[in-house]
Point group: C2
Chain length 357, copies 2
C-alpha cells in the first residue's frame, strides 16, 4: 500500500500536480555540504576501487569508539535495511519465526516472508501508550523463535520505549537464548533519551543508519553492531552480494561523524519544532495520538476511519500520507512523516486538521 | 583461498613490503574524471535522497537503447554481483541445482551453497581449448536443474565462447525450459566479438557491470537485462534489501555511457597490449596457456604444479597471484590479473617467467 501511494504520487507529480509528501521518511534537508565535499575529495584520491567487505578501517574504528565496542564488532552495510536483511537471512530459516511488536516497519515482514519464515505479531495499542505486554511476549515464544525485532524509537509511532521495558525484553531474550535485532536508526536524533539494547547485553544485534541522522538516505549507508561471529558472517555475505559500500561514501560518513554534534543538534531541533506544531494543530481535531518522542512520524487514530480510502481521498487534496494498514492491522490509523519543507508541513497539517475538525 | 591471499597481501603491505598485485581483477586505471565530476554535480543538485529500486529512469532508458530492449527489461543493481545473487536467490531453491562450466568465478559457488542449492560442475580443459562438451551438459541436466551460468568472456581464462557454442547452449536451455544466467561483464571490452545470449533468445538473464568497462569497481554498479517479470521480482528484492543504488552514482554512470566509445577503446587497447606482453614473455617458459581474448586474465598451467604452494612462495618474491583451486579443481593452474600499473606488470611477469624457465 505504501508503494501504491508512492507510485500514485509520482504519477500526479508528472501530471504537474503539487503534492505535499508526508508519506515517506526522507528528510527534506539536503545532505550537509561538508559530507558531499569529503566524498568528492575521496573520489579524486582514487577511493573508487574494491574495498573491504567489512567496511573501511577508519570508519569502523570511529564508530567503535562512539559506541564503546571494538572495531571487530562493527560491519558497514548498504543502509540499515541491508543489515536487517542480512541478519534475518543468516539467523532465521524457513519454518522458524520472529516476534515483532506492531505497529512495525513494512520491510521486516516482507523480508521474513521472502525466505519462508513466520512473523509473530505482538500487538501494541495507542490506548495503552504502545506498551509491550511481557506476558503476551513470553507466550508467543516457542522453540522455533529465533529473533525478536525491536524498533526503538518506533516507526510509525515515534514512541521511545522506557528503559525498564528495554531491559525486561532483553532479559527475556537472554533467558530464552533468542537474539534481539534492535533497529535503533532514529535513536541518535530522538527527543528523549533512548536506551540501547547494546548497553544491557552483548548478545544482540544493533542496527544503525546514517540516513536519518545526517540526511543521507539515498547514500545507502548503515551499520550493524554485533558479536564478532555474526559480524564475520555478515562480512562473508557482503563478499558474495555487495562486495563493499563505496569507500568514497564511507569518507563522507567519516566527515558526518566528525561534525555529528552540530548536525544532530540542528536536525533534532527542526523536527522537534515540527512535532510541536503538529501536536498543536492536531490536538484541536478529533484525532487521537501519542506525542512524538523522536523524528519524524505521527500515527494518529480516528475511530471508524478507513485509512486506505482516506489516503486516496487526501491525495486528491494534494497531501500524501501512509495508511495504517502499511504497519500491521491498524486501519483506523495513518502515518504522517513530517519530512516536507517547513511551509508545506504547516499547510499539509491544516488540510488534515480540516478533515477531522 | 583468494581471500587468504588478499589478506596476506594487505598484511605484507602494512609491513612496508612492495607487492605486485596480479591477484584481483581491479583495473589500476582511475575512474575517468568526467564520471567523478558528474557524480559530484549530482550530489550538489540533491540527488542524495531515496530513489527508485529499479534504477534511475534516464539510465535505464539509455541502457535499453544500447541493448535494443525496453527500459522495463533493465534493473540497476549494486554491482553485477548483486544481480547474480538476486537472480540466483529468486530462481533457485534449496535442493535444486545450477550447472556451471568450470573454471568459474568463486561467487557462483558460494552463493548457491549459501541457500542450499547444488552446483553441478561442467569441466572444461585447456587441452581442448576450454570447449564445452554439449553431451556432458545434457547429461548433467535433471528435473531439479533451474539455471545454467555462463561467464562469457570467462574469468579466469579470458576465453570467449564461439558463437555456435553460445547458440547451442541457449537452444539446449530453451528446449529444457532452463534459464541461463549469462555473466557478460567482460564482453564490452573483449578483444574479439562476443555473442550475447540476449541476441539469441529472450528467455534468459544477462548480467553486466560498469566495474571493468569504466574502471568503476568500487562504485558498485551493474545491471541485469531480463524479462519484465524477473525484473519486477529483482526490484521487489531491492526494495527490502538495498532500496536503491545512490542516484548520484547513476549520474556518473550516465556520463560514462556518454563517453563509452572513447573510454572502451582506451581500456581495451591497454589490456590488449598487456596481454600481448604476457603471451610473449610466458611463451618462453614451460607454462601452457590459451591466448587471452578479453581483459584481464591469463590462466596458465604447469603440469604437476601445486598452485597454492606456488602462490605463497611467489608472495615472498613480491608477486601476488590467485591459485587455480580458487576456480574449481585446477590445482596445476594459476590466474594472473594484469591489472597492476604497467611497469609492475612487466616486472611481475619476469619474476613468474623466471620461476618456469
Amino acid at each position: 500500500m505504501l508503494y501504491e501511494i508512492s507510485e500514485k504520487v509520482i504519477k500526479l507529480e508528472n501530471e504537474g500536480k503539487k503534492i505535499i509528501k508526508f508519506n515517506l521518511g526522507d528528510p527534506d534537508q539536503p545532505t550537509p555540504p561538508e559530507v558531499i565535499e569529503a566524498a568528492y575529495e575521496a573520489m579524486k584520491k582514487g577511493k573508487t576501487k574494491y574495498s573491504s567487505a567489512a567496511g573501511e578501517k577508519n570508519l569502523r574504528e570511529t564508530l567503535a569508539e562512539i559506541h564503546g565496542v571494538s572495531a571487530d564488532n562493527i560491519v558497514i552495510t548498504a543502509g540499515s535495511k541491508w543489515a536487517i536483511f542480512a541478519s534475518m537471512y543468516l539467523l532465521l530459516k524457513k519454518g522458524e519465526n520472529v516476534i515483532v511488536p506492531t505497529p512495525h516497519w513494512t520491510a521486516y515482514d516482507l523480508t521474513a516472508k521472502s525466505f519462508g519464515a513466520e512473523i509473530k505479531i505482538l500487538r501494541t495499542e495507542l490506548e495503552s501508550d504502545w506498551k509491550v505486554d511481557f506476558e503476551k511476549l513470553q507466550k508467543l515464544i516457542d522453540d522455533k523463535t529465533r529473533l525478536i525485532i525491536l524498533n526503538n524509537p518506533n516507526n510509525p509511532t515515534s514512541k521511545v520505549m522506557d528503559e525498564k521495558t528495554v531491559e525486561k525484553i532483553t532479559n527475556i531474550a537472554d533467558e530464552k537464548g533468542i537474539t534481539i535485532l534492535s533497529d535503533e536508526v532514529y535513536a541518535d536524533i530522538s527527543f528523549v533519551k533512548t536506551k540501547s539494547v547494546l548497553d544491557i547485553s552483548p548478545n544482540h544485534l544493533i542496527v544503525k543508519s546514517f540516513s536519518k541522522t545526517f540526511a543521507m538516505t539515498g547514500w545507502r549507508l548503515g551499520y550493524a553492531i554485533a558479536n564478532k561471529e555474526l559480524v564475520e558472517k555478515i562480512v562473508k555475505l557482503n563478499q558474495i552480494t555487495l562486495t563493499n559500500v563505496p569507500a568514497f561514501i564511507q569518507e563522507g560518513a567519516l566527515k558526518a561523524l566528525e561534525l555529528r554534534h552540530e548536525i544532530i543538534r540542528k536536525i533534532r531541533e527542526e523536527y522537534r519544532r515540527r512535532a510541536d506544531m503538529a501536536c498543536k494543530l492536531l490536538s484541536k481535531t478529533s484525532l487521537k495520538f501519542s506525542k512524538p518522542e523522536a523524528p519524524f512520524y505521527l500515527f494518529p487514530k480516528k475511530e471508524g476511519l478507513d485509512s486506505e480510502k482516506f489516503a486516496f481521498d487526501l491525495l486528491d487534496k494534494g497531501v500524501a500520507i501512509a495508511p495504517g494498514t502499511s504497519f500491521g492491522n491498524y486501519r483506523e490509523h495513518f502515518r504522517l512523516a513530517l519530512t516536507a519543507p517547513n511551509d508545506e508541513v504547516e499547510q499539509g497539517l491544516k488540510i488534515i486538521a480540516e478533515a477531522f475538525k
